[in-house]
């Protein structure tokens, strides 16, 4: 009977060695050096861009994919000993936490100025890469765009009882509430939260689930980011019965949010890190985001997704990314109001 066990162990060892071999084969450093990226943006979204960069520059790129907040926590735990050169985050919250810990290096002026000052950190510690807007996604079988109120406050009307979906634990939603606190003030924001709560909204885990539920007709409207809808349209066709509505009123419900990138001060590959950040802001990469992920490019002169209004024509909330940094205050308000546990 022991013979069989040895075979099993031998088999495991063989599988393991194959795994190792495929690693070492791919980890031979080339002349252009290497670069280590921690990406809070998912592999399905950004791997093609990173591959393009690697091909064009000859830099050997290693990427750790994860959730933005968990990677931010990882960077905080690693401190000066982090192997990472670049942190590419889904939202400003994670970047802010790492910036506050003093782990980021300032970016050069010519990199920063490629992007509107609203979409980068005031201290120049990180820069926005692509944008998305907050929208109301609605079911086209039960609603027309003109049925929707002029701002999110309109959804506190009892007519919307049981018809709203939201994801209060989602980072983008919380960023919007932070914008509300900045622009509407604490009191009115609390009033809005309680008003929506009174309408018994259906609570979701994230944007995707909301868009899906609106498409199924489980709810009529949902507060989401614009680009999830396009995934469904791509996979399920134009018959998918949901569309986006941008509030376009200049208030916090017309918020533009960004993904951003930063360089770690302790990183060993400074030159490649800057090369990569500049590549993300190049027309090639920006065009990729516009056409593949349906996001807004933040650099001028790039063709955007059909059906989207160009960023410069939107009446977007006038607020800087630094003003969106107070997540702690937002979390406290959400808890007080009983929106999150």
């Amino acid at each position: 009977m022991f013979k069989k066990q040895y075979w099993l162990i031998l088999l495991l060892g063989a599988v393991f060695l194959t795994g190792c071999a495929s690693f070492s084969a791919s980890s031979q450093a080339e002349d252009a050096g290497k670069l280590v990226i921690y990406s809070g943006r998912s592999e399905s979204l950004v791997a093609p861009v990173i591959e393009q960069f690697s091909q064009a520059s000859g830099v050997k790129v290693e990427v750790r994919y994860g959730n933005t907040s968990e990677l931010a926590a990882t960077l905080l735990e690693e401190g000066e000993n982090s192997p990472a050169d670049v942190f590419y985050a889904q939202d400003p919250g994670g970047l802010g936490a790492v910036a506050n810990a003093g782990l980021l290096a300032p970016l050069p002026e010519e990199t920063l100025t490629k992007v509107d000052s609203r979409y980068r950190s005031a201290e120049g510690l990180w820069v926005g890469v692509s944008g998305r807007i907050r929208v109301v996604v609605y079911n086209t079988q039960s609603l027309q765009p003109e049925d929707l109120p002029a701002d999110l406050f309109g959804f506190t009307d009892p007519r919307w009882k049981g018809k709203i979906g939201w994801a209060p634990t989602n980072a983008s939603f919380q960023a919007m509430v932070t914008a509300m606190r900045q622009m509407w003030g604490e009191e009115r924001t609390r009033e809005w939260l309680l008003g929506i709560l009174a309408n018994q909204p259906v609570v979701f885990d994230g944007n995707t689930a909301i868009v899906e539920a609106v498409g199924r007709g489980e709810i009529e409207v949902g507060f989401v980011n614009h680009y999830y809808l396009y995934r469904f349209l791509r996979e399920q066709g134009d018959s998918f019965p949901a569309r986006n509505h941008f509030m376009n009123n200049g208030g916090p419900d017309s918020l533009v949010m960004v993904s951003g990138v930063a360089r770690l001060a302790a990183g060993k590959n400074e030159e490649n890190a800057l090369k990569f950040i500049n590549f993300l802001l190049s027309p090639v990469a920006q065009q990729y985001f516009a056409s593949q992920t349906s996001e807004y490019p933040l650099v001028a002169g790039v063709q955007i997704q059909a059906g989207l209004t160009p960023l410069e024509n939107l009446n977007a909330a006038d607020i800087t990314v630094d003003q969106l940094a107070d997540l702690e205050g937002t979390l406290n308000l959400l808890r007080e109001a009983g929106v999150v546990p």
Partner: protein
């Protein structure tokens, strides 16, 4: 007590020299030290938690959340134990048609990550899900009742966790002596009476251990509770990370979770303590219980559970895959994650089972407070959410062991911390069935302890070892937080691929790796099963 004592075959305890096997303390204590890493980290981080966290912790709502956590853990535990025992009994003790096949299929829901399982469940059963679409075309049903909240979460978690009980109980039933049961039957007991009065008491240690695993799984689950919208304590901890990246607050909450776990461990100890040991060695092939007319309801139960727990999830995945391929989705690049998953999970199964052996032997073969503490200590990593263990190792690895940081060794260490109790529970249960007089006979014939273990104890507990390795293998296949944060950079597994695609709503892209994950785990399950039955019968 003396009757129990005699029945339990514990004569050896008195005569065996106390010093034997003491060398086992060295590896056991080393493993326990490893388990301490998350605890030290949590204490360091929690000590800097500020006032607002404490005030949040002491609110009425927080108590309510804790209550919800406990309610969910206990109810899932009870239902998982019920189904686990019932199914294990059906496939080992009866003439159920196709029981070999059911035995191979029934553990499989274990391989489905909870966030994927919950997601698939929602897309099928939700008020406007796939099922409603079908019912609409046939019967014009417009909307199904909501599945969110407590009951949906309870159902999904029960289906994902009953295999823990099933595997543990099956391992005991397939080795335990049936002569008592046959005697009971010949004395006129009905199958049910025999089961309750004779079989169930033998199962008590295995039930206690696997029930504990289920309870703790539920306490620290994040995926199912967040998708099915039921707020538990772990969900609160994740929120803390997600929203404010406040590590000290999350650490404090994790320490509370450890306190709750200590309560569970104490309860398990009580439950197990009341159980007598029933060591047997001679497995006599006995005629299975004839189900007769009971075949139909039994087959119905088995198939219903497999339908909801395995066929439906796989079916939805297959639907996504077909729909995606029809829309022109490219399917490629699954080989590397497959190799990654298999090698990581295979090594984790090997190492974790090995690491669990010394402490399992010590705690079963010896009593005393130190051994008890050693045993409970092993649950430390299992008491807190995976991301907490992962961050603890990030902290220690990056700052104190840079040479090992983000290597496969570090990842395997994390898996060991996370899954050791799973292996330990199963090993202990099977060790309790090994008659000590056999070991002593071998020792008295002049064999050294290592040889006794290799030639007598290990072969007898082989089905248990196989089960333990299988459990660790299957749970490692789906592990996510530690793999994401600690794996060598660029190392991908099927679970990370599924997560990356699902989190961005690329369903078709998620479907292929998820199906391969289920398939690869099934094949591995089959091999382990096959292997353990063969080695069991070759003695």
């Amino acid at each position: 007590m003396s009757r129990d004592f005699i029945l339990s075959g514990r004569f050896g305890t008195i005569s065996s020299p106390p010093a034997r096997g003491s060398w086992l303390y060295l590896p056991a204590v080393l493993v326990a030290l490893g388990m301490t890493v998350p605890l030290i980290y949590l204490i360091i981080r929690a000590s800097s938690a500020d006032q607002s966290v404490w005030s949040w912790l002491l609110r009425v709502q927080t108590l309510q959340i804790m209550g919800q956590s406990l309610l969910l853990a206990v109810t899932v535990m009870v239902s998982a134990m019920f189904f686990g025992v019932l199914l294990a009994w059906l496939v080992t003790r009866t003439d159920l048609i196709g029981r070999k096949l059911w035995a191979a299929l029934l553990p499989l829901p274990l391989v489905i990550p909870s966030y994927v399982g919950a997601y698939l469940f929602v897309s099928f059963f939700s008020p406007r899900g796939l099922l409603q679409t079908l019912l609409q075309t046939w019967f014009g049903v417009d909307r199904l009742p909501s599945i969110y909240g407590f009951w949906g979460t309870w159902l999904v978690l029960t289906l994902l966790t009953y295999p823990y009980v099933f595997l543990a109980v099956r391992a005991v039933l397939s080795r335990s002596d049936r002569s008592l049961e046959e005697a009971a039957r010949s004395l006129g007991y009905s199958p049910l009476q025999t089961f309750l009065k004779v079989t169930l008491p033998q199962l008590q240690p295995a039930l206690a251990a696997s029930g504990l695993l289920v309870g703790l799984y539920v306490l620290r689950d994040f995926g199912a509770v967040s998708i099915l919208r039921f707020t538990t304590f772990t969900r609160a901890i994740y929120l803390q990370y997600q929203s404010s990246i406040d590590r000290s607050a999350a650490a404090l909450l994790s320490l509370v979770l450890i306190l709750i776990t200590i309560g569970f461990l104490a309860a398990e100890q009580q439950f197990r303590h009341s159980a007598a040991e029933h060591p047997h060695t001679a497995v006599r092939p006995a005629g299975p219980i004839r189900l007769g007319g009971g075949q139909v309801p039994a087959l119905f139960a088995v198939n219903l559970i497999l339908l909801i727990g395995l066929v439906l999830p796989a079916g939805v995945l297959f639907y996504w895959l077909v729909r995606g391929v029809a829309a022109g989705e490219q399917l490629s690049g699954w080989l590397r994650p497959l190799v990654g998953s298999l090698s990581a999970a295979g090594l984790a199964a090997l190492i974790t089972s090995l690491a669990a052996l010394p402490v399992s032997i010590l705690t079963v073969r010896r009593s005393g407070w130190f051994n008890k503490v050693l045993e409970k200590w092993s649950y430390l990593g299992y008491a807190v959410p995976g991301v907490v263990v992962a961050l603890a190792l990030v902290f220690f690895g990056a700052n104190y062991l840079p040479a090992l940081y983000q290597t496969l060794a570090m990842l395997l260490f994390a898996y060991m911390i996370l899954f050791l109790p799973q292996a330990m529970g199963t090993l202990q249960a099977s060790l309790r069935q090994v008659q000590r007089s056999l070991e002593e006979a071998a020792a008295s014939l002049g064999e050294n302890p290592l040889r006794v273990f290799q030639r007598v104890t290990l072969p007898l507990m082989m089905p248990g070892v196989a089960s333990a390795a299988a459990l660790v293998f299957l749970t490692t296949m789906k592990e996510l937080p530690a793999t994401l944060l600690l794996a060598p950079i660029g190392f991908s597994t099927l679970a990370t691929q599924v997560w990356a695609a699902v989190s961005e709503a690329y369903f078709a892209r998620a479907a292929a790796p998820a199906l391969i994950l289920i398939l690869a785990s099934s094949v591995s399950m089959y091999l382990i099963n096959h292997h353990s039955t063969q080695s069991g019968s070759s003695q």
